[in-house]
């Protein structure tokens, strides 16, 4: 019979609170190159990458929920009225965790250097997805301003954001690897993920 995972829950709770509070309270202090490092996204990706699908999805959904509550995207509806959306944060974080938990994790044995590549890849997917959606939406909505220019988006949004997220990965990797939810001597049972969730069927190998 396994013991109740107090350490895991407490460590995740503390990190989630810290990451979320720093993100929404001190975003202006962290701004560089016109962008803010997305600590919530990076933490979700790293949790999923290092500790598997289940951990990543739970952390991602909690952070996504908080993101939706505190700074949900506001869009002009098709009728021209403003709508504060709900659920986009949940979707973004869930998809980020799902991708990161299977992104060459088997081949790379969840090693630290490749976590930077995973963060960069998920950031690019997130930014490109967001860009395409916003262009699509803005072109459909009346009274909307100009759609974002693609080259401008790449140079002033995608690249700086990816760079900042890679920088933000450094402290978060240290937290998760050296003060993380699992003892270093007690590696997480990867077999559990494979049997229950089929992890390893995609790009894992």
């Amino acid at each position: 019979m396994s013991r109740f995972p107090f350490r895991k829950i407490i460590v995740y709770a503390v990190y989630i609170i810290l990451v979320f509070c720093i993100q929404v309270s001190y975003s202006s202090e962290m701004t560089l190159w016109g962008q803010i490092p997305d600590l919530m996204l990076v933490f979700t990706v790293l949790t999923a990458y290092f500790h598997g699908f289940k951990d990543g999805v739970v952390v991602g959904l909690i952070l996504g929920l908080l993101r939706d509550c505190f700074c949900a995207p506001c869009v002009t509806g098709l009728d021209g009225q403003l709508v504060v959306t709900g659920g986009i944060g949940l979707l973004v974080m869930f998809v980020a965790a799902s991708i990161a938990s299977s992104f060459f994790t088997g081949r790379m044995k969840r090693n630290v250097p490749f976590s930077f590549v995973t963060v960069a890849t998920v950031t690019i997917i997130y930014k490109m997805g967001g860009y395409m959606l916003s262009v699509m939406w803005l072109s459909m909505v009346a009274h909307a301003g100009s759609t974002p220019d693609f080259v401008d988006f790449i140079l002033r949004s995608l690249l700086p954001q990816t760079g900042l997220n890679i920088i933000a990965t450094i402290p978060l990797v240290f937290l998760l690897k050296f003060a993380g939810p699992y003892k270093r001597s007690k590696a997480k049972d990867r077999g559990e993920d494979r049997i229950l969730t089929g992890e390893g069927n995609w790009v894992t190998y």
């Binding site: 509070c21 202006s28 506001c74 949940l90 979707l91 909307a144 969730t197 069927n201």
Partner: protein
Amino acid sequence: MRKLLTSKWFIILVTVLILIVIIGVGFIPGSPVRQILKPVTGLASPVQGFVKNIGDMIGDARSALFDGMAIREENESLKEQIAQLQYQLTQSEEAAIRYEELKEALHIKDTFSAYDVYGAAVLSRDADEWFSVIRADAGSRDGIKLESGQAYAVVDVEMSLVGRVIEADATNSKILTLMHESFRVSCKVNEVNGAYVTCCGDANLKKDGLCLLTDIDPDVVLEEGDVIVTSGEGGLFPEGIPVGTVVSVDYSDPLNVKATLKPYIDVSQVKDVFVMIPTADDKAVDSVNDQPANEGDAQ
């Protein structure tokens, strides 16, 4: 079948579909999605406030340690300023008494006299360029009761336009800043019979801290440095709130003259905001007046 139900990709697909449905339902007017999220906000707000306070205290302590000399010098110069201001205050008090007398005699109306102003501190800011709504610590308990089709103007300490309240719960309100793509407000050039324009956020200009001015009459000569204020058209925003100054004007397309505006506010630096709510008497007058005019202006 059991293998399918426990498959990771099946779980992901089902969850993604559920989340897309939730997002879609959120677009329906009066949808319960935002209501469901409110308790979570209520639970998380004190935690976020606590951590923010600790961070602010650390920041203050660091300032106290490292800025000691600068503060002492600033203190000396402020003392001199206080002495000068005391003298000016005495003179202003006399002028104020005269103004009040004349105001009653000439029926002068204060620009913002029909508005109650509620102060609030900024609690949280945008997480990234798309999750970009700021939160302030004043809600329906403080008098900010937002009904469908309403919008309250939000200004900073210098009475410059910050944005509008888009959602309010018991203790907090969410503010859409004027640089957001969805923000629109009717404005005018701040001069006698100044031309009317529309100020709106723009995805490309936002990164430079600028806004777009549209609906400019091609016959109007707009110049760099012109001061733009809210026009009061539509009744959602009071007239005369300073918005910013014109940076450039593009007359290349006479049918679509555009200009860029540098707002007075720097959203990243705003710490305290003031929500302007029409007084009860003013609301009653508005509801009697033409109602459709209230919609569509400041979206």
